[in-house]
Amino acid sequence: MIPAIRQAQTPAGRALEMIRSVLLLLSLAGWLVYPVELVLLKHWLKTWHSKVPFVLSPPAAILTAWVLFLDRGTPWARRAFIVVMWAAILMGLAGAYFHLGWNFEGKVNWGFATTMKAAAGERPVLAPLAFVHLGVTGLLAIYRAR
């Protein structure tokens, strides 16, 4: 992305590459900081679900840095980046669902009042959606990027 800023020919092209680069940089910061937060919060438990963010974050961070600083044109890197971003979106949505479901503590009831109570429960329901944001940002950053 960053090399593309220098190669942009028009003001619109330059603005486009700047937006792509800055937002991907924010995204990279997220991929580096969120796993650290999860370690501090002891998110690595016995269940396999709890380990998924730790498994996905390293390749996501590496590929984001690759696309941002080095090269976004190599087909395998582009494809891998897009796949990992979609995986992040699915992981975030699944995480939000799991957090909400487990907040019911066995007494699952999707009525409005009980769901709102579960949404305010021990596990933060919106927090996993941060990964959805990272995934969407990545996909938008590479959208139509030649």
């Binding site: 709102m116 305010a120 944001h133």
Partner: protein, 147 residues
């Protein structure tokens, strides 16, 4: 935004405006969602600090929605200012969460152990940075916009 997509002349301009519009939609969604979540978790307390996220989200939502329909300076400049406010509010929120967690745990944040202990406290420290994130996104997206 919508008008800019329709009147874009080149592929670069069109791509730029589509990306701007989608990121702005994310910002809009963020302001709406975060405001609602703060309400659900009972963040509206007696302290004035606890009320800040609500007003940041409310004004942010209105200004972001406005930017979809017009880029006139009367909307664009307040939007840019408010995104900077959101960045600041989120950063201060993270600081307050950390500081109050440290106070509850009776630790100092200036040691690794104390910081880690405060970070794990009842108030989620990084959650406040969600406001910083959407404020930064709004700033980046709207910064280069000309009418």
């Amino acid at each position: 935004m919508i008008e800019a997509i329709l009147t874009a002349q080149t592929e670069d301009e069109r791509t730029l405006e589509v990306i701007r519009a989608i990121f702005l939609a994310l910002v809009l969604f963020g302001f709406a969602f975060y405001g609602a979540e703060h309400w659900i978790v009972g963040h509206y307390l007696k302290s004035w600090q606890s009320k800040v996220p609500f007003y940041v989200s409310l004004v942010g939502f209105v200004l972001t929605l406005g930017l979809f329909f017009t880029r006139a300076p009367v909307v664009r400049y307040p939007f840019l200012v408010w995104m900077a406010v959101a960045v600041l509010a989120g950063t201060l929120g993270a600081y307050y969460h950390l500081a109050w967690n440290a106070q509850s745990a009776e630790v100092g944040v200036w040691t690794v152990k104390g910081f880690a202990e405060a970070f794990k406290g009842t108030r989620p420290v990084l959650a406040a940075l969600a406001h910083t994130h959407i404020g930064a996104t709004g700033l980046v997206v709207a910064f280069g916009i000309r009418k």
